[in-house]
């Protein structure tokens, strides 16, 4: 969808290039995050795609067409653009801001109004806010309006320069989750710039790791960058806790669960004790018709004939197949049983995960 072919940029009056011979292929529907320290040319690279900066050499193709052979104004109207400070037009209302590109493109009023309504809903913006001015919005609302505005004319390509950097970490995490959700549905081709490796890992299908002077050090999926950093620069930039960061990317469903001690509520004490013995544990999960009820330990079964006579204790936390291994690990170290119990979304018991199993995944 986007391809950079040996693109360089030397700004007038400087000897060192800001970007040197950068080649990058970005597939349709993919989110590529350009990440690196300041001076690595990530923003310059992004701005060359919609010709806010013109490359000194090399070629940039969007949908197979050389951007330098297109009218820059028309090119930009076909590419969504979000910057860190958002840059909402202060003299236009929320609705007018969102309608900016459709208006420039000459859509009729009714179509624009429908589109604005739709986007307000997608981004969870209250319709009452349509007539407010940007100065009357909170930081998080402004960012939402900014992203909604960039999506207004439904461009196939989006350029996002640290779009969530201007808000506090809690709002940022929420905006990131919301955007991932929206992107899963829309499947835009996105070039996303950030200096925050955690944001890159979270948002990216692939990460382009850039070094000062616009040198591409590694271009791979977040999982691969964490597992096999190409060199010491990447390793250093990724930083500590590489293992934990990788765990955040792997879903429980991907590694499968282990068997654990489990009995039906109607089971006898002997059956429960046998299950414990089989797994070398002194507790057992209790289910009823497959649904998770809780757990009982050896001591509480003393003198009872069946599991049903004891009220099972609830798991303080359990994980689902969609949880990340990082969440599973958290569940393991905070539970008294030292395993993570895995259930599906309907609370049906699936099995357990242990530290050993998770660690094997990381070390292998």
């Amino acid at each position: 969808m986007i391809s950079l072919e040996r693109v360089s940029k030397v700004f007038p009056g400087t000897s060192r290039p800001a970007v040197s011979e950068l080649s990058l292929e970005i597939a349709r529907g993919e989110t590529v995050v350009l990440v690196g320290p300041s001076g690595c040319g990530k923003t310059t690279t992004m701005r060359m795609i919609n010709r806010l900066i013109e490359p000194s050499s090399g070629a940039i193709l969007v949908d197979g067409k050389d951007v330098m052979r297109q009218d820059p104004v028309q090119l930009r109207r076909g590419i969504g653009y979000v910057i860190q400070s958002i840059g909402l037009l202060p003299h236009r209302t929320v609705a007018q801001n969102i309608a900016t590109v459709p208006k420039l493109a000459g859509w009729d009023d009714q179509r624009i109004r429908r589109r604005v309504d739709e986007l307000m809903d997608i981004f969870g913006l209250d319709r009452e806010m349509m007539d407010r001015y940007p100065s009357e919005l909170s930081g998080g609302q402004r960012q939402r309006v900014g992203v909604a505005r960039a999506l207004a004319a439904d461009p196939p390509v989006m350029l996002m320069d640290e779009p969530f950097a201007a808000v506090d970490p809690i709002v940022r995490a929420r905006l990131q989750d919301e955007f991932l959700d929206i992107q899963r549905r829309l499947r835009k081709t996105i070039v996303f710039v950030t200096h925050d490796i955690d944001e890159a890992i979270k948002m990216a299908d692939r990460i382009a790791m850039l070094n000062v002077g616009g040198i591409l050090e590694q271009y791979a999926s977040p999982e691969e960058i964490l597992r096999e950093p190409a060199n010491s620069f990447v390793q250093e930039f990724v930083g500590a806790e590489r293992g934990l960061k990788r765990l955040a990317l792997i879903k429980v469903a991907e590694i499968g669960v282990e068997e654990g001690p489990v009995v039906e509520r109607s089971a006898s004490t002997e059956e429960a004790l046998a299950a414990m013995k089989r797994f070398g544990m002194d507790w057992v999960t209790v289910v009823e018709g497959g649904r998770l009820l809780g757990w009982v330990d050896r001591a509480s079964l003393n003198g009872r004939a069946s599991v049903g006579e004891v009220a099972p204790r609830r798991f303080s936390a359990y994980v689902t197949a969609n949880s990340s291994l990082r969440q599973a690990l958290d569940s393991i170290i905070t539970s008294r049983t030292n395993v993570a119990v895995v259930a599906d979304d309907g609370d049906r018991y699936l099995g357990v995960l242990t530290v050993e199993r998770i660690s094997k995944e990381i070390v292998s």
């Binding site: 806010l52 104004v73 028309q74 910057i83 958002i86 840059g87 420039l104 100065s135």
Partner: protein
């Protein structure tokens, strides 16, 4: 003018009532002279300001020339123009217009330059042409500063128009001039009072107009950043 400073019996109020038609005529004339001066001044300064904004190199020469015009004392300018344009309205207006230029140009440029960089960057990135950028983004956002310039120009022109009476072009200055000639204080005071009131009313009206046009610019977010000219020293009145 009817009534005279010599007749003590005639009360001040009676004098005003007797001469109300003439006073009104001079007031209207004053407003006309001001409106023409500021109007023409705006028409000349607007393109110059946009030019100076777009091409930074043009800003110094433009403000240098208009600044030079601004420093010539009012009366001296009228005298300089007399051989060419005589005791005509042109003489008065050329002088008045030339004083508005510096104020209007500097305020407009200041307003355009204060448009936030990120707003322009986002607008360019969304595909505004440079013409659309000027008319739909930069000028609307510069409006508070532009109006601030018009307000200063209007108020100072209302003051300057009183001098136009010296070359027989009427306006409230004529009341002051006649009052001084006849040693009739009421007439002098009335001329001055009306001139000051007119300035205040015009200033307030323009401010209200600006507020109506810029509902987004609440005090907190977009304070008007106008440029004020240095005080003119030794301005010759009468």
């Amino acid at each position: 003018m009817r009534g005279s400073s010599g007749v003590v019996a005639i009360s001040t109020w009676q004098w005003v009532v007797d001469n109300r038609a003439e006073i009104l005529r001079l007031l209207v004339q004053h407003i006309q002279l001001t409106a023409i001066a500021v109007g023409i001044g705006f028409v000349i300064s607007f393109p110059l300001a946009v030019l100076a904004y777009r091409h930074r190199a043009l800003y110094p020469p433009i403000t240098w020339i208009t600044g030079l015009l601004y420093t010539i004392p009012g009366l001296a300018l009228f005298v300089l123009l007399l051989p060419f344009t005589g005791l005509s309205i042109t003489t008065a207006e050329v002088g008045l217009v030339s004083y508005t230029l510096l104020i209007l140009i500097r305020n407009t440029v200041t307003g355009l330059r204060s448009v936030p960089e990120d707003v322009k960057e986002a607008a360019r990135g969304m595909g505004y042409t440079s013409r659309q950028m000027l008319w739909r983004v930069e000028l609307p956002l510069a409006l508070p500063a532009i109006v601030a310039g018009i307000r200063i120009a209007t108020v100072s022109t209302i003051g300057l128009v009183t001098v136009a009476a010296l070359i027989g072009r009427g306006g409230l200055g004529q009341l002051i001039l006649e009052g001084l000639n006849r040693l009739y204080n009421t007439e002098v005071l009335l001329g001055a009072l009306l001139s000051v009131t007119l300035a205040l009313v015009a200033d307030g009206a323009l401010l209200l107009g600006q507020r109506a046009l810029t509902p987004w610019a609440r005090e907190r977010t977009y304070r008007t950043r106008g440029w004020m000219p240095p005080r003119k020293a030794g301005f010759p009145v009468g």
